[in-house]
C-alpha cells in the first residue's frame, strides 16, 4: 500500500511506516481521516475487527441511555444548587449529598456510556506499529557535533577569552540577587537560639510582679488552695498571653497536684508549691503538646509520637523518642494566694535544636536543678 498524498515533503524516516491496512489519515486533503468507513471495508483488514451490526445497535441504545442519565443528573445538579441552601450542619449535609451524588452520577454515567461506545461500537483493534531505536543515528549526530563546533567558532566565544570570562563574572551577582532578596523572609534579628531559650514566664508583669498562671480557655487565675485534689491536672497559660500563639508555643504548662509522698527526687521541690508541680507542656521531641495524663501512673503522654514522661519524677522520659524531660517551671503563690511563676524555665523548653547544647548539664554544673 503506497501513500501518494504527502501534502508537504517530509524526510521519510520521520514518518513512521503506516500501520498496515489502516485507512490513510492523509487521504485527499483531509487531515482527520476517515469519515465512517463502511463496515465491509474494514473486514479483512488485519488487526481491525469490526463489531457486528446487532452488537453495535445494542451498544448505541445502551450508550444513549447512559448519556441521557448524564443529562438528567446534570440538570439535577443545577437544580440542587438552587434548591438546597447551606448554613448549619443539616442543610449543608443535604446540599452536599444532593450536589455530590448528582455530579457523581452524571460523571459515572458519561464514563459508562463512552466505555460502551468503545467496546460495542468501535472495532476491536490489534494493530502493530514499528518501534525505532531512540538514538538519532550517526549521520545526525555527526552533523550536530560539527554544527555545534562551527557555531561555537563563529560566535567567537572560543577565541575571545575576555568575552567569556567577563560574561561568566557578570552573571554571578545576578544569580545571587534572588537569594539576597530572600533575606527578609527571616526576622530582623539573628539571635535565634536566644529567642528559643526564653519564654514569657521570665518577664515580670507591667507592675513588676511575678506572672500568674491562668487556666487555658477561661483565663482564670489559679488559687493554690482551690487546686487541692490530688491527681488534679490543668492546662495552663501565662496571664496576659492567653491568645499569643508565639508565647503559647513555648510557655504552655501542664499543672499537676500530687500528694506530698508521691513526689520522687527527680522533681525539684523548691519549684513546687504544696504538691503542685508545673511542667512545660511542649514535648521535647518535636513540640506537640504533651496533653495526655494518666492519674494512676503519673504518666504524661504526648499523643503525637508517644513520648512518655513520669510527672512524679521530674517528668523524666520513660518511653518514646523524646530525649529530655519536660522542663519544670519554678512556681509559688503571690500574696493573694494565686499561683505565679517565680522565674523562667532553667532550660529551653520544646524540641532540640543545634545551638541548644546540653543545657541541663550546664544548669547542674552551676549548682542548679534542671
Amino acid at each position: 500500500m503506497t501513500d501518494n498524498h504527502h501534502d508537504i515533503d517530509q524526510p521519510e524516516e520521520r514518518v513512521p511506516r503506516r500501520v498496515i491496512g489502516t485507512p490513510s489519515p492523509a487521504a485527499g486533503t483531509s487531515l482527520l481521516g476517515a469519515e465512517e468507513p463502511a463496515a465491509k471495508e474494514l473486514t479483512g483488514v488485519p488487526g481491525v475487527t469490526p463489531q457486528d451490526e446487532r452488537t453495535a445497535r445494542k451498544g448505541e441504545r445502551a450508550a444513549a441511555l447512559c448519556f441521557t442519565v448524564t443529562l438528567l443528573a446534570g440538570i439535577a445538579f443545577i437544580v440542587s444548587y438552587v434548591v438546597f441552601q447551606v448554613g448549619d450542619l443539616e442543610t449543608t449535609k443535604t446540599s452536599t449529598l444532593a450536589l455530590g451524588s448528582t455530579l457523581a452520577v452524571a460523571l459515572l454515567a458519561l464514563a459508562a456510556g463512552i466505555v460502551i461506545w468503545v467496546r460495542m461500537i468501535m472495532p476491536k483493534y490489534n494493530l502493530v506499529q514499528e518501534r525505532h531505536p531512540m538514538a538519532s543515528g550517526p549521520e545526525a549526530r555527526e552533523y550536530v557535533a560539527e554544527t555545534f563546533l562551527q557555531g561555537a567558532a563563529e560566535s567567537g566565544i572560543t577565541r575571545h577569552p575576555l568575552l567569556r570570562r567577563t560574561l561568566l563574572l557578570a552573571a554571578a551577582p545576578l544569580g545571587l540577587a534572588p537569594l539576597v532578596l530572600l533575606r527578609d523572609l527571616g526576622p530582623s534579628y539573628a539571635n535565634f537560639s536566644e529567642k528559643l531559650r526564653h519564654t514569657v514566664w521570665g518577664e515580670k508583669t507591667k507592675d513588676g510582679k511575678h506572672r500568674r498562671l491562668v487556666v487555658e480557655g477561661t483565663g482564670a487565675p489559679i488559687r493554690a488552695a482551690d487546686f487541692n485534689s490530688p491527681g488534679g491536672i490543668l492546662s495552663v497559660v501565662p496571664e496576659g498571653y492567653e491568645h499569643d500563639l508565639n508565647a503559647l508555643a513555648k510557655a504552655t504548662l501542664i499543672l499537676i497536684k500530687f500528694r506530698a509522698e508521691e513526689i520522687k527526687p527527680g522533681t525539684n521541690l523548691n519549684w513546687t508549691h504544696d504538691g503542685i508541680v508545673a511542667y512545660s507542656k511542649i514535648c521535647t521531641h518535636v513540640g506537640c503538646p504533651a496533653a495526655l495524663y494518666e492519674q494512676s501512673t503519673h504518666h504524661i503522654l504526648c499523643p503525637c509520637h508517644q513520648s512518655t514522661f513520669d510527672a512524679a519524677d521530674g517528668a523524666k522520659v520513660i518511653f518514646g523518642p523524646a530525649a529530655r524531660p519536660l522542663p519544670q517551671l519554678p512556681i509559688a503563690v503571690d500574696n493573694e494566694g494565686y499561683l505565679v511563676a517565680t522565674a523562667d524555665f532553667a532550660v529551653p523548653p520544646g524540641p532540640s535544636f543545634w545551638e541548644r547544647g546540653d543545657a541541663e548539664a550546664e544548669v547542674r554544673e552551676n549548682g542548679g536543678h534542671a
Binding site: 489502516t22 487531515l31 481521516g33 450542619l89 452536599t96 502493530v128 518501534r131 531512540m134 508555643a249 513540640g287
Partner: protein, 546 residues
C-alpha cells in the same frame, strides 16, 4: 480510498489551523499512534486525572480561601464556633464548608483527589519498577517520576497546613520540630520559614503561594515532560503474541485510546465525587482553631505522611551533645533516613541495575515480576520497610483497636523494620522461582485438560494439552536477566580486567547472582510441549537456601 469527505466546518477549521501551524504533519504521524493495552498501564492515569481534578477543585477553593493568620472572631453560620477567635484562614475554610454552596463538596473532593493522586503515583511507580519499565531508554522519565512523587509529598504537606485547624497545626508543629533539629541550619531554616518564632503570622500565606503556585507549576511542567517522553518513547508492552522489542501492538490513539482515556478520566472524577459526597474527610469544624497549647489524641496525618510519622514513633531517644551543640538523632534519623533511603534508592535503581547487569540495550517489553526475582524481592523488601513504618504511624490506633500494649507495638516495630524486609526478600525470591517453575511446567508439560484417561495397564492419567497461543506467547516473553560477560576467572584463576579490585569483584559477584536464568523454560528445545522438557529441582538456583 473511499473514506467520504470531511464535513465542511471541520475541513475549513483544520485547513485554517494547518495553514498557520502545519499541524497536519504532527497529526499524520500521531493520530494513529498505537497504545498497548494492559490493566496495569492505567494506574498512572489515575494520578494524572487526579491532578487535573486537583487543579479544578483547587482553583474553586482559592476563590473563597483567605490565606491569612490575622485573628478574627468567627461570624459564619456554624453555630458552635460563633464568636470564637481564630485565624482568618480557618474562618474562611469554615466559610467554604458552611457558607458556600458546593464548597464542602469541593473541599472534600480536593482532599480525596490529593490522596488518590499520591496513591496513584505510588502504585504506578511500583508497576514500573516491578516490570522493569524504567530500563533504557526510560531512565530519565523514571527520574522525573521520582521528582514528581517527592514534590507531591511536599504539595500535600503544604496543603494540609492551610486550613489552620487544630489537626493541621499539629502537622505544622511536627514539621517545625523536624526542621529545627537540622544541624547548623535548623534554627535559620525555621525562623526564615515562619518569619520569626513559631508559629508567627507568615507561614500560611507562604505555604499558600507554594501550594497553589510554585509546586503545582513545577508539577505541571514535570507531568508534561513525563507525558511527552512517554509519547516519544512509546509505551512499553507486556510480552505476548506478536509483541517484540521493535514493535508496539495495541489500539490507535484516535479514536479508541482517546475515547477510553476520556472515559477513564470521567470514572476517576466520578469516584472522587462519590468519595467527596459520602466519605467525610477532614471535618475541620470538629477540631477547632489551632493553638500550640492543644492537641487531640489519635491525630493522624494523611496516609502518605504515615511512614514519616511511624519512623518518628519508632526511633529510640538518641541525642548527642558535644562542644555545646546538639544533634537530636531521635528526630534527624527518622525524618531523613527512611525518606532518603526510599527516594535515593528509587532514583538510583535503574543505574545500579545497569552497572550490575552490564546491560546497555533498549527494553520495550516489560518483564513479568517473577522473571527478575532479585529485583522483585528488592521491591517487596522496600514495600515491607515502608509498610512497617506506615503501620507504626498508627500504632496508637492499633494498640487501642486490638487491645495490645502501645509500648509493645513500638518494640515489635523496632525489630520488624529490620527483620521484615529480610524475611520478605527470601519469601519473595522463593515465590518468584516457584512461579517460574510453574511457567516452565506449562511450557514443558502443557496445561491440565480435565480429561482423565485410563491406560491399558490400568493407570489413570490426566491428559495435558499445549497451552493456548496467547498464554504460551506471554510465558515465552521471558528472557534471561543480562549479566556481565566473562565474570568467571580464566584458567589461570585470573579474573578479567575491571573485575580485579574489591569493587570489581563485588560487581562480578552481584552480576552473577542478579543475572542469568534461574529456571529455564525448556532448555532451548524449541517448541517442546511434546518433549516434556525436564524441569527438575536440580537445575534451580538455590543461592538463597544453601
Amino acid at each position: 480510498m473511499s473514506t467520504g469527505n470531511v464535513p465542511k466546518p471541520i475541513a475549513s477549521t483544520s485547513s485554517f489551523l494547518d495553514d498557520r501551524l502545519g499541524a497536519g504533519n504532527f497529526l499524520k504521524r500521531n493520530l494513529r499512534k498505537i497504545f498497548p493495552d494492559h490493566w496495569s498501564f492505567l494506574l498512572g492515569e489515575i494520578a494524572l486525572y487526579s491532578f487535573i481534578i486537583l487543579l479544578l477543585t483547587g482553583t474553586f477553593l482559592t476563590f473563597f480561601f483567605k490565606p491569612s493568620m490575622s485573628h478574627v472572631a468567627y461570624e459564619g453560620s456554624y453555630e458552635p464556633l460563633k464568636g470564637v477567635m481564630m485565624s482568618e484562614a480557618y474562618a474562611s475554610a469554615l466559610g467554604i464548608s458552611f457558607d458556600v454552596r458546593g464548597g464542602l463538596l469541593m473541599r472534600q473532593m480536593h482532599h480525596w483527589a490529593a490522596l488518590l493522586f499520591v496513591a496513584g503515583m505510588m502504585v504506578h511507580a511500583l508497576r514500573v519498577f516491578f516490570t522493569g519499565a524504567y530500563r533504557k531508554p526510560r531512565e530519565l522519565n523514571w527520574l522525573i517520576g521520582v521528582g514528581l512523587l517527592t514534590l507531591a509529598l511536599l504539595e500535600g504537606l503544604t496543603g494540609y497546613s492551610l486550613p489552620d485547624d487544630l489537626l493541621s497545626g499539629a502537622g505544622l508543629r511536627i514539621t517545625e520540630g523536624v526542621a529545627i533539629s537540622l544541624p547548623l541550619v535548623g534554627t535559620w531554616i525555621t525562623f526564615f520559614l515562619f518569619g520569626g518564632e513559631y508559629p508567627g503570622e507568615d507561614v500560611i500565606s507562604r505555604f499558600y503561594s507554594l501550594h497553589i503556585l510554585l509546586i503545582p507549576g513545577i508539577l505541571l511542567g514535570l507531568i508534561s515532560a513525563h507525558m511527552i517522553l512517554m509519547w516519544v518513547q512509546k509505551h512499553t508492552q507486556m510480552p505476548g503474541k506478536g509483541r517484540t522489542n521493535t514493535n508496539v501492538v495495541g489500539a490507535p490513539f484516535y479514536p479508541a485510546f482517546m475515547a477510553k482515556a476520556g472515559a477513564y478520566f470521567m470514572f476517576t472524577f466520578g469516584v472522587i465525587a462519590l468519595l467527596g459526597t459520602f466519605a467525610q474527610i477532614n471535618p475541620i469544624w470538629l477540631f477547632g482553631p489551632y493553638t500550640p497549647a492543644d492537641i487531640s489524641a489519635g491525630s493522624q496525618p494523611d496516609f502518605y505522611m504515615g511512614f514519616l510519622e511511624g519512623s518518628l514513633r519508632l526511633m529510640p531517644a538518641w541525642e548527642i551533645n558535644f562542644l555545646g551543640f546538639t544533634l537530636p538523632l531521635s528526630v534527624l534519623i527518622p525524618a531523613l533516613v527512611p525518606m532518603g533511603v526510599i527516594m535515593t534508592g528509587l532514583a538510583l535503581y535503574p543505574f545500579v541495575e545497569q552497572w550490575v547487569t552490564g546491560d546497555r540495550s533498549e527494553h520495550h517489553v516489560a518483564d513479568r515480576p517473577r522473571n527478575n526475582p532479585h529485583r522483585t524481592s528488592i521491591g517487596m523488601s522496600a514495600i515491607t520497610f515502608y509498610g512497617v513504618l506506615w503501620l507504626l504511624g498508627a500504632n496508637d490506633e492499633i494498640a487501642s483497636i486490638f487491645h495490645v500494649s502501645l509500648n509493645w507495638t513500638t518494640y515489635i516495630g523496632r525489630v520488624l523494620i529490620f527483620l521484615g524486609p529480610l524475611v520478605t526478600y527470601v519469601i519473595t525470591y522463593r515465590i518468584c522461582l516457584g512461579l517460574q517453575r510453574s511457567d516452565a511446567a506449562v511450557i514443558g508439560h502443557g496445561v491440565e485438560s480435565g480429561v482423565i484417561k485410563r491406560l491399558p495397564h490400568g493407570e489413570y492419567i490426566e491428559v495435558h494439552v499445549p497451552p493456548n497461543e496467547a498464554i504460551e506467547a506471554h510465558v515465552r516473553g521471558k528472557a534471561a536477566v543480562p549479566m556481565i560477560a566473562g565474570t568467571e576467572t580464566d584458567e589461570d584463576g585470573i579474573p578479567p580486567k575491571g573485575m580485579r579490585g574489591p569493587l570489581g569483584r563485588l560487581r562480578a559477584k552481584m552480576s552473577r547472582a542478579y543475572g542469568g536464568e534461574k529456571v529455564a523454560l525448556d532448555e532451548g528445545h524449541g517448541h517442546g510441549h511434546d518433549e516434556h522438557a525436564a524441569v527438575g529441582p536440580g537445575k534451580d538456583d538455590k543461592s538463597l537456601t544453601r
